[in-house]
Amino acid sequence: MVKIVFESHDGSERTELELSPGGSVMEAAAANNIDGILADCGGSMVCGTCHAFVSPEWFEKLPEQSEMESALLEYVPDPQPNARLCCQLEVSDAIDGITFTLPESQR
């Protein structure tokens, strides 16, 4: 199983998910009604409303961003380094234990 934590912007809420590998982090968040992930475009990488922040250590370890992903991340309401689109990350053992901090708003 893969453990993923979603933490609200101010750290007041934490949701821990135990997932079997497969599918995207966005899909897992949607299936578990994580409030801060909207995913308006359903993972087609045109909306940016599935973004979240990870620690610099995790950021280093994740697979590289496509050009389109980095472009989208520049235009979210409050762009920050270490942001990723959850629809572009696969649930796998490689991210076991990761924490995603949700932005204050997605749009």
């Binding site: 009604n33 409030d35 308006d40 475009c41 359903g42 993972g43 087609s44 045109v46 909306c47 940016g48 389109m68 472009a71 989208l72 520049e74 235009y75 979210v76 309401p77 762009p79 708003s105 997605q106 749009r107």
Partner: protein, 405 residues
């Protein structure tokens, strides 16, 4: 509209999936357009085939629609005419399937992103205030659709594009005429006029670039190459088509709903922070665009056999009213949970509305400015409200009486 197209049911469609539905004006429809359309959820399978308008598939429920609009390999956006026609219109990026749509979408995105729209907020607010003030000055019985809902998005569009404001009235009139006619010849002629006006402005921007969308469009490069004037005109025209009537109609239906909910009016007046929730709920309940797709290859999806070149119509305006997706879907409740608030009003997938962030902000800001000026309002009693149907649902008038704050 009189349909001269024959009914048709192809051989691969089983009889139990055939239900008659005429998107040009179905007999089920009343002026409560959404409420009368949502009966299709119960009266028909989630994916059914209507013989009307030359015959096409209709998709009514959330999960099925989401699948169709996301699965572009089977359901292509390259043609959107039902029935099909020779030389159908082709818009960029709307009718371009991935991956070729991506460079265009990426080029337009910065101007429509949450960040860009946040920066535009003060200007949007100024327009909202000014337009509402002018409408209220006309006194009771003014037509909200004519005086507010339709002029507002045109003004903001011109602002965003960087079009000269001394052409505001010319452009508002063109837009008004364009969206209120069904006459193909008139539509053709007006399209020409609108594209010509935008081309003139593009030429001016070329000579004197500014920090606006039109100047940006002049500089778009795809695979390192500048795009042609024709592509620029095409994109500008799509933005025009996508961003006017849509906002006007969602706003119209939302204000109509709110007119009949005096307690909610009071709440929004006293607690402007709740207006964002109102906007979300209005968008869930009052989608206005249904989107067509063409089947790109024979495929079996949802246990249904689709054949290459079948046309498919997704009824996005009732996607948020699907009781398999949302609890109490027919109730207008601004406090509903995210779990029960799903909608595809802006579609999903690679063509998910580029203007959705702008549209949401426009509606929210208009309601905020409204309740700074209006304490409560009602529809002029005894009015029979008109509507238009098709791929786009419209409310043609909404005369209001208001009590000032």
């Amino acid at each position: 509209m009189n349909s001269t197209v024959n009914d048709h049911i192809p051989d691969h469609v089983p009889a139990d999936l055939v239900v008659s539905y005429d998107y040009h004006g179905d007999p089920r429809l009343t002026n409560e357009v959404h409420a009368s359309l949502q009966v299709l959820h119960d009266e028909a399978p989630p994916v059914f085939y209507t013989p009307r308008n030359g015959g096409h598939w209709v998709v009514t429920r959330f999960d099925e629609i989401k699948k169709v609009v996301e699965d572009y390999e089977v359901f292509s956006a390259k043609e959107m005419q039902i029935p099909r026609i020779e030389n159908p219109p082709y818009f960029i990026p709307l009718n371009v399937d991935p991956p070729n749509n991506i460079p265009y979408r990426q080029a337009l995105m910065p101007a429509f992103s949450p960040k860009a729209i946040k920066a535009l907020e003060a200007k949007i607010r100024q327009w909202a205030g000014e337009i509402i003030d002018n409408a209220l000055a006309k006194g009771d019985g003014f037509d909200f659709i004519q005086e507010v809902a339709s002029v507002y998005p045109v003004s903001i569009f011109m602002e965003l594009m960087g079009m000269p404001m001394d052409r505001l009235w010319e452009f508002r009139n063109l837009s008004d005429e364009f969206f209120s006619t069904n006459d193909q010849q008139k539509i053709h002629q007006l399209s020409g006029q609108i594209i010509m006006a935008m081309t003139e402005i593009l030429e001016q921007k070329k000579a004197a670039p500014a920090d606006d969308l039109m100047s940006h469009i002049l500089n778009i490069k795809v695979k390192g190459e500048p795009i042609s004037l024709e592509e620029m005109q095409n994109m500008c025209f799509l933005l025009f088509l996508g961003g006017m009537d849509t906002v006007a109609n969602v706003t119209g239906y939302s204000f109509r709903q709110l007119a009949n909910m005096p307690e909610l009016q009071q709440r929004l007046h006293d607690n402007p922070a709740d207006i964002a929730k109102f906007t979300d709920e209005a968008i869930r309940m009052f989608g206005v665009i249904s989107n067509p797709r063409i089947v790109a290859k024979d495929a079996e999806v949802f246990g249904v056999k689709f054949k290459k070149d079948d046309m498919v119509l997704c009824l996005l305006p009732i996607s948020g009213r699907d009781d398999r997706k949302n609890g109490n879907p027919h109730v207008f409740d601004i406090d509903r949970s995210k779990e029960d608030g799903h909608t595809l009003t802006f579609s999903s997938g690679p063509h998910m509305c580029l203007g959705s962030f702008l549209a949401r902000s426009e509606i929210r800001i208009l309601v905020e400015e409204w309740f700074k000026r209006v304490a409560r309002y009602e529809i002029v009693p005894g009015t029979e409200l008109g509507y238009r149907t098709g791929f786009s649902l419209a409310l043609t008038e909404l005369p209001l009486n208001t009590v000032k704050s």
